[in-house]
Amino acid sequence: MTSLPATRLNDSAVRIVSLYPDLLGTYGDGGNALVLSRRLEWRGIAVEHITVDAGEPVPDSADLYLVGGGEDGPQVQATRELEQSRGLHRAVDNGAVVLAICAGMQILGHRFPDANGTSRPGLGLLDCETIRVDRPRAVGELLTTSAQLTTPEGIIELGQLTGFENHAGRTIPGSRSQTLSAVEVGEGNGDGTEGVITGKIVGTYLHGPALARNP
């Protein structure tokens, strides 16, 4: 895994950025980067994987950004730094794909609860809002019904998705977003749906990591 400044990004390779794994990497979600990198390599596609720790500049010209799960405190710090940097915002404007897991999904939305349950502004990239609800934390296996993705190029069938969820918040998808799937076993967003998709940004509560359990 390399860590390169934005100006030296390789032009021909697929560029994958793992964002702040030191703040948002408690749950094995770093595996998503490894899975993507290997699968691209196996298909003969060059890949460049860049790990950006908190405090480092966020490149805005990569193809794919991965944001993992984290605890309530660190997720506030990650939001603060991403808001200041605006690198991820510019990348999304440039058409980059983002996969955000759990806390990653929450902070990309309009609002999310901090460690004290106080609602804080998120990055506003994903059209959803996460609120604290008075019920036990959702911890356990999560299974969805067959997932379908509606894209400008047509409908993509993803099949059933599995993972492990561990979160307290309830996520309400906005009108500009679609959900990833419906919940068959587990909690998901909290309203029977799972995941939020706005444009090319995909958020989900599936740990596992998601891409290892759902190749």
Binding site: T26, G28, L34, A54, G55, E71, D72, N166
Partner: protein
């Protein structure tokens, strides 16, 4: 055949207790004995539970007239408890919950059969520090580290740090021995009036980048760590570890230790710091450390299927980080076993937080109930591996490998319940 508990000796040991507590102890001992007779287990936890049903305050009573030291952490608490017991044991009688039952029932069971004034060296589960400290008024508390482990049960590591901090505020011990290289532990320990800071250079920092005090970002440098937003920073340390030698109270203790690896030097530094804080002579305490050869079967070399195997335990990413120090050198094949039962955490996604790539081209046989999860992790890590159904077939596969060296025991590295299974299989007695 297990001997029946002797009621006379039980009451003799417990004669300073109130009648209710005496009854509780006797009932617990009887249930533990019955549990052993029907080969249900060691009986210590169920016996302790029965005792506590009869007398809720039994732990307070059992510790009223003894010195108590608590050892807690995500990793290293069993080892450090054993090392500290051995170090203190050179100068005074001690009792400890060596069977590994580290919540109140197991602790009660361990203390019920000891003399009322023996010093209690207690391994305490991270989540039970608060209640055990309150019940025992322990005068020394040793806090080693906090990192991700069984997140389906503990959820957030920071919440544990907060519980510790409140516990130390509510029931301040005379001395806390704490890890200055772990920001979460440091923040918790700063609530105590008197801290011996141990700085051994913690390599696993992945759970501590977010400041527990202010949610700011912690900056790690070779010299230490500091929050970029508030005043929390690495305290100046009293005990250090450099090139395997422990510097303490102006002395440098550099003798051999029977336990392998850097991580056990770290555990030894904490044990020595605690023993010294509790008044044990340093040379005497250090001699005691060397008497510890294995911890509840860990590092044990055993004969199984006509083959020598070495049992290693690693149960979470920080533990694997240390275990890989032993596993990244050799080129012989090894066996890795992963389960995901309650005591392991039901979700094995943490396997992706372990840098198994450090094993290089070593051939690995994956076993355990979650062997296929492990195999997927290995596949993406380009690790040379195969899946086997059980320990016997894994050993067979290792022995068929051209890289197998019959002069060396085969390493079998397992997480918690897989390790317990293997220990039982090789006839290990805890």
């Amino acid at each position: 055949m297990t001997a029946a508990p002797n009621p006379a000796s039980a009451t003799g040991r417990a004669k300073s207790l109130r009648p209710r507590a005496r009854l509780a102890v006797a009932a617990g001992r009887f249930v533990a004995w019955a549990s052993r007779v029907v080969q249900f287990g060691t009986g210590s936890v169920i016996g302790g539970r029965v005792s506590l049903l009869i007398d809720r305050n039994l732990l307070s009573e059992l510790t009223a007239s003894r010195d108590v030291v608590i050892v807690s952490a995500t990793n290293g608490k069993t080892t450090t408890t054993k090392l500290l017991s051995s170090a203190l044991g050179t100068s005074r009688p001690i009792v400890s919950n060596w069977l590994g039952a580290n919540m109140t029932p197991g602790i009660v069971a361990a203390l019920a059969s000891a003399n009322a004034t023996d010093t209690a060296v207690l391994e305490v589960d991270e989540r039970w520090v608060d209640s055990v400290l309150r019940a025992t008024n322990a005068n020394t508390v040793v806090l080693l580290n906090l990192s991700r482990d069984q997140l389906d049960r503990t959820q957030e590591v920071r919440k544990l740090a907060e519980q510790w901090r409140i516990a130390l505020e509510t029931t301040p011990p005379r001395t806390v021995v704490a890890n200055a290289d772990d920001p979460l532990v440091t923040w918790a320990a700063l609530a105590a009036p008197n801290v011996v800071w141990v700085g051994t250079g913690q390599e696993w920092t992945a759970d501590a980048a977010g400041c527990p005090a202010c949610s700011g970002r912690i900056d790690f440098t070779d010299a230490g760590w500091a929050c970029t937003a508030c005043a929390l920073r690495r305290p100046s340390v009293d005990v250090t570890l450099a090139n395997g030698a422990i510097a303490i109270n102006g002395r440098t203790m550099s003798g051999e230790l029977a336990l392998p690896g850097r991580v056990n030097r770290v555990n030894a530094a904490f044990a020595l710091a605690a023993a010294s804080a509790m008044g044990t002579d340093l040379d005497q305490a250090f001699d005691g450390l060397d008497d510890v050869r294995e911890i509840a079967g860990r590092y044990r070399v055993a004969q199984f299927c006509d083959t020598r195997i070495r049992l290693l335990l690693a149960k979470n990413p920080a533990g694997w980080h240390e275990a890989l120090e032993l596993l990244e050198g050799p080129s012989t094949p090894l066996i890795i076993a992963i389960n995901a039962r309650i005591a392991d955490g039901h979700d094995p996604s943490w396997l992706w937080d372990v840098a198994y790539e450090r094993m290089g081209q070593r051939f690995v046989v994956a076993i355990g109930e979650r062997r296929h999860d492990l195999a997927v992790r290995f596949r993406y890590g380009n690790i040379n591996h195969i899946v086997a159904d059980d320990l016997e077939s894994a050993i067979k596969l290792v022995r068929q490998s051209p890289a197998y060296d019959p002069t060396m025991p085969i390493d079998v590295a397992s997480n918690y319940t897989a390790f317990q299974d293997h220990l039982e299989r090789v006839g290990g007695v805890l």
